[in-house]
């Protein structure tokens, strides 16, 4: 089997190529619109994207690379541009990707279903294609050559025109490395109250994270700060969930924590069935009390 990996970030390329080695004899990495990545695959097919085009529109080139390489399995990074490319490639091949694969077994993969409310095993009837998030495979196992094959960008008819771009500032947050995390949810009705969580975090040497709604719609946190099935998956020693109801979409992101502490004013909140220590009450009472005592 020959795997065709579509990735744009070096970390993801490492993990996916290492994972691809466990299912295929040879690995081709296709990088579009980002610097070529070497040392992780047998060959890196590199497609440069002209300034006025978008990487997503490189799909004709990607399809010809796939055909030329004679690959028979696809693994793609879970990031927007690779998602567009794997979508176009699988469409051209008459197949569809299995997304959110957490384990690959031949043509089958296990995936989350309803954000972790279930586990689904799916089978690819045609060319298997998998979309894989970060942390599924061990990137340190990646091996490969320095071979880079340049391939020209072929614009489709009706190409999207890029007028400009602006780099997003890098968020100053590192949840993955944190020993402790204080996570804030919609139970915070006022942005100013987040200081209560920051005070506790300072005491614990913790990072402050959040549930998805606090990073979306309201911009109280950067996107990198939300924990869950579509955000960061963390496993700190201590996880303090404040004003978080405990929906599966959130909990699958923190279930690996050693100790889970929950504060919620609703005694029936699902989080109380998924924590070690819980307090039924107002976070405005509980957080200062914890900060004072620890």
């Amino acid at each position: 089997m020959k795997a065709f990996v579509i990735a744009e970030n070096e970390g993801a390329a490492r993990e996916l190529c290492a994972g691809a080695r466990t299912v295929a004899d040879s690995v081709v990495l296709c990088v579009v619109g980002a610097p070529a990545i070497t040392g992780v695959a047998d060959v890196c097919v590199h497609i440069d994207v002209p300034a006025g085009n978008i990487a997503d529109d490189a799909y004709l080139s990607v399809k010809s690379a796939f055909d030329a390489q004679g690959a028979d399995c696809i693994i793609a990074e879970n990031a927007l541009r690779p998602l567009s490319l794997v979508g176009r490639l699988t469409a051209a091949l008459g197949t569809a990707a299995i997304a959110g694969a957490t384990e690959i077994n031949g043509t089958q993969a296990s995936t989350m279903y309803f954000g972790g409310n279930g586990v689904r095993t799916a089978n690819a009837e045609a060319i298997p294609a998998f979309i894989v998030g970060s942390g599924v495979f061990d990137g340190s196992a990646a091996t490969g050559t320095d071979t880079v094959e340049e391939l020209a960008f072929q614009a489709p008819a009706n190409a999207v025109i890029k007028q400009g771009e602006e780099a997003l500032p890098k968020a100053d947050i590192n949840l993955a490395a944190a020993d402790a995390i204080v996570a804030c949810g919609r139970g915070f009705s006022d942005e100013a109250d987040l200081q209560l969580a920051r005070d506790l975090a300072a005491k614990l040497g913790a990072e402050v994270g959040c549930s998805r709604p606090l990073a979306e719609g309201v911009d109280w946190f950067p996107k990198e700060a939300y924990i869950g099935v579509s955000g960061a998956v963390v496993s700190p020693k201590t996880y303090v969930a404040c004003g978080i109801s405990g929906q599966m979409q959130h909990m699958v992101g923190c279930n690996g924590s050693e100790v889970v502490i929950a504060v919620n004013k609703d005694k029936n909140a699902p989080i109380f069935k998924q924590c070690d220590y819980g307090f039924v009450g107002d976070l405005k009472e509980a957080l200062p009390a914890l900060t004072a005592a620890l």
């Binding site: 997503d56 529109d57 927007l80 998602l83 567009s84 794997v86 979508g87 176009r88 699988t90 469409a91 051209a92 008459g94 569809a96 990707a97 997304a99 995936t111 279903y113 309803f114 954000g115 972790g116 409310n117 279930g118 586990v119 689904r120 095993t121 799916a122 089978n123 690819a124 009837e125 979309i131 009706n158 190409a159 999207v160 025109i161 890029k162 771009e165 780099a167 997003l168 979306e216 719609g217 099935v229 579509s230 201590t238 599966m248 699958v252 502490i261 005694k267 109380f272 998924q274 924590c275 070690d276 220590y277 819980g278 307090f279 039924v280 009450g281 009472e285 509980a286 005592a293 620890l294």
Partner: protein, 246 residues
């Protein structure tokens, strides 16, 4: 201009029960519009108002998707007409097959200039149906969209990717996938819901559904995580327990 918005009708995951044998029981689940598709509907409705366009919803799902409350919900949010395939033959489609059915509806809906899709459905969250639909219709596709303005034959979009914001002009017709940030769903009033009941709802059975490229082998509840579950109502005992544990 004709604006279409694709949305998925699915069981509410809050109602999923775990049966004794570890299988998932959906029998008591209400049907709802997948969470982030509500944002897509709102985005389409606002763009429709801004451009004086018609807004039609297209949806493919199981027979249970033909639910009068959900259909009214969709039509109470600034949508003029609904095209729905509700059939158990289309209950478990992969992204390519879903897109193929949506493409049929897009053509049935009397043409399209702009098709809006949400970021991903709550069940699979594959984020693939929009791009498959674009491929099927052979039109441009952009994802991560937070803003869109129509200028003649193109739509100018702001797309927020993981590390960069791009400003792009997309030739019409096209498919755009929006981020939930792009529009927060409205709360429909009683009047909107009543009016929704009088709007056209075209519900059809599936016909000539493509063979699946991906099929479900098994579905099961996740392994339970073992936790102590010591829950306190007294703050002092709680603080003491946390202090002892850390």
């Amino acid at each position: 201009m004709n604006i279409l918005v694709a949305c998925k009708i699915i069981p509410d995951d809050q109602d999923i029960q775990i049966a004794g044998d570890g299988s998932l029981d959906f029998s008591k689940a209400h049907q709802i519009v997948s969470e982030y598709d509500l944002n897509a509907i709102e985005f389409a409705a606002q763009l429709g108002e801004a451009t004086g366009s018609s807004v039609k919803a297209i949806s493919v799902g199981a027979a249970a998707a033909d639910d009068s409350k959900v259909k009214k919900n969709i039509l109470s949010r600034g949508v003029d007409e609904l095209f729905l395939i509700a059939d158990d033959a289309t209950a478990d489609l992969d992204s390519a097959a879903t897109a193929a059915e949506l493409a049929k509806l897009a053509n049935a809906a009397d043409g399209y200039d702009l098709i809006v899709v949400g970021t991903g459905s709550a069940d699979f969250y594959a984020k693939q149906v929009g791009v498959h639909l674009a491929a099927k219709l052979d039109v441009p596709y952009v994802s991560g969209v937070t803003k869109a303005t129509v200028n003649g034959s193109t739509v100018s979009c702001t797309r927020v990717l993981e590390n960069v914001v791009e400003n792009v002009d997309v030739p019409l017709p096209c498919v755009v996938s929006i981020l939930p940030d792009a529009a927060l769903p409205r709360i429909a009033g009683m009047k909107d819901i009543l009016a929704a009941g009088k709007k056209p709802m075209n519900v059809s059975a599936a016909e000539g559904v493509a063979a699946p490229a991906v099929s479900t082998v098994s579905l099961a509840a996740p392994a339970a995580v073992d936790r102590k579950c010591e829950v306190f109502e007294d703050i002092d005992s709680f603080v003491a327990a946390v202090k002892a544990a850390l």
